[in-house]
């Protein structure tokens, strides 16, 4: 073993030994790391679940424009082309009178009376243009295009998002917008608070053992040889805390998903939380580990610095 390797092995060994010998201090520090990492993980999953719910609501909203029977092929094409040019349009589906009827009959399969009544009349359904907006917040762009006088002249009925539903859409749009931002801010805030709490915990742990650092200094140990074991030790904290926090969240989903679903008043799709957690399990574990290791290592690096300084003052 080369001398560098010898030192490296000694640092790792000392770090692990310190971890075992300071078990109580380690447990206290890790308890705090576990709690904060769990909160971050929880808020990430909650945010994803919430976004998913919002997405589900948004997916259900589209605008239907009903065309008069007298509209010519050319007028229809011009209208469709105009809509497709709009920035906020994700998808445009055109249903001819026949297709609209087919869809309608499909939807009312069981209702024999209704179906026979429709069969007796001429096709009463108008040709329909379904517009799926990219973003709910910019739905007005589509609305104003549809409501332009020459476009309005083509329509048999007023488009289907008007009236009460329009207000509902506006409300949902505003609400999801605000809540979406709140979610991101909450996650960021939790993360920042957690980092500070963990940093402070590590700092206290090292403060408790500053004598050791100073003694090693006086004996002539190099900075890396003094610091190394402390960093190794806090990395162990980080790794264990990350694993424990993942296990806690895992446990919550296994044992309490039913009661979670109940407490969210059916507003949130908890099964999606589970799905999200399962799908990104390894990524979440990896990011928890990175976070734990990084905060631990950087905190101990910063916290040890002041006890390793040499006196420079002459007074």
């Amino acid at each position: 073993m080369g001398p560098r390797m010898t030192m490296f092995v000694r640092i790792i060994r000392a770090g692990m030994l310190n971890f075992v010998r300071n078990a109580w201090l380690a447990m206290a520090a890790m308890a705090i790391m576990v709690i904060t990492l769990t909160i971050i993980l929880f808020s990430v999953i909650a945010n994803a679940t919430f976004n998913n719910t919002v997405q589900q609501i948004e997916d259900k909203i589209n605008i239907s424009v009903y065309l008069k029977d007298t509209v010519t092929e050319k007028q229809k094409d011009t209208f469709l082309a105009g809509i497709k040019k709009l920035e906020n349009v994700e998808k445009v589906t055109y249903l001819s009178k026949e297709q609209a009827l087919k869809v309608y009959m499909e939807q009312n399969k069981g209702n024999e009376q209704l179906l026979s009544a429709i069969n007796e009349t001429d096709n009463p359904l108008p040709a329909t243009v379904q517009i799926k907006p990219r973003s709910l917040s910019k739905i007005n762009e589509i609305r104003s295009f549809v409501l332009k006088a020459d476009n309005l002249a083509l329509q048999s009925d007023s488009m289907s998002d008007s009236g009460n539903r329009r207000e509902a859409i506006d409300n949902i749009t505003t609400a999801t917008h605000i809540l979406g931002r709140v979610g991101v801010i909450a996650v960021a805030l939790f993360a920042i608070i957690s980092v500070l709490i963990i940093f402070n915990t590590i700092r206290m742990t090292i403060f408790n053992r500053r004598d050791e650092l100073q003694i090693m200094r006086l004996l002539g140990a190099s900075t890396s040889f003094i610091r190394g074991p402390f960093i190794v030790e806090t990395i162990i904290y980080g790794v264990l805390s990350a694993i424990i926090s993942i296990l806690i969240i895992n446990g919550v989903f296994v044992t309490a998903s039913a009661s979670l679903q109940a407490t969210s008043f059916g507003l949130l799709d908890i099964s999606y939380s589970q799905e999200f957690f399962g799908k990104y399990y390894w990524q979440l574990l990896a990011s928890q580990l990175t976070l734990g290791i990084l905060i631990g290592a950087v905190s101990s690096l910063i916290a040890t610095r002041r006890y390793l300084k040499f006196k420079t003052a002459k007074h």
Partner: protein, 235 residues
């Protein structure tokens, strides 16, 4: 080996200096006893030598190293050349007796095999071989002091600085410690010892430097010293 030239140390601008223009020369392989009341400046003198403190003015050269020209990153290298027994032992609380002594060797990169060879021998010298696996908190004050001495001598330093190494010991153990110090001095280490114990000073028959109010009050070679007569230096 150790040279101080008009060294002054003032801890605060408005305080009396802890050391006031102290000049001192200690030859290689000398055994020097520093005496003086608490607060006289003994500890300050030792802290300046280990570069724990910096002098307000004056020059310090130890083992050919001029402290003014010593960059911070080389301070550890300096300290590795000096064995130090601290008044408050400064043992590492989370390490066993063996590990505490081994630590002094680990930091200089001595091989594990050599550590396993050397440490038990040194523990035998200070009579602690059977307590190698104890933690410092399980030891008596005297035992801790001996661990501190073992740690200071294990590297066979060229200079050994011992701050009250007999302070916590009963007379029998105190003399054991002094015997250890004399032994390593015979092997060629320069020893600088501070003590309160007049009995030790009298019986040691070595050069004695008395510090009073931050100044050297007297510096005399003990005339009864037989095996080696240290040169008397006038400050």
């Amino acid at each position: 080996m150790i040279l101080l030239d008009r060294v002054t140390k003032q801890y605060g601008k408005h305080l009396d200096p802890a050391l006031d223009r102290v000049s001192l020369h200690i030859e290689p392989k000398e055994f020097v006893v520093v005496v003086g009341q608490s607060g006289a400046g003994k500890s300050t003198l030792l802290k300046l030598l280990t570069r724990e403190e910096r002098p307000t003015s004056g020059k310090i050269i130890v083992g050919g190293i001029d402290y003014d020209k010593l960059p911070d990153r080389n301070i550890p290298l300096l300290r590795r050349k000096i064995g130090t027994v601290f008044q408050d032992f400064k043992l590492l609380p989370n390490k066993t007796v063996f590990e505490n002594v081994a630590f002094a060797l680990e930091i200089v990169g001595v091989s594990t095999k050599e550590i396993k060879n050397t440490v038990p021998r040194v523990l035998e010298i200070v009579n602690l071989k059977d307590k190698a696996n104890r933690m410092p908190r399980e030891l008596s004050g005297g035992e801790r002091q001996r661990v501190a001495i073992a740690r200071a001598i294990v590297r066979q330093p060229k200079i050994l600085i011992a701050d009250e190494p007999t302070g916590n010991l009963d007379p029998k153990h105190a003399w054991d410690v002094i015997a250890v110090l004399e032994k390593i001095n015979r092997y060629g280490t320069t020893v600088l010892l501070t003590t309160h114990n007049q009995d030790i000073v009298a019986k040691l028959k070595r050069r004695v430097i008395t510090i009073q109010n931050g100044k050297i009050a007297s510096d005399r070679a003990n005339t009864q010293s037989v095996d080696r007569q240290p040169t008397r230096r006038v400050a």
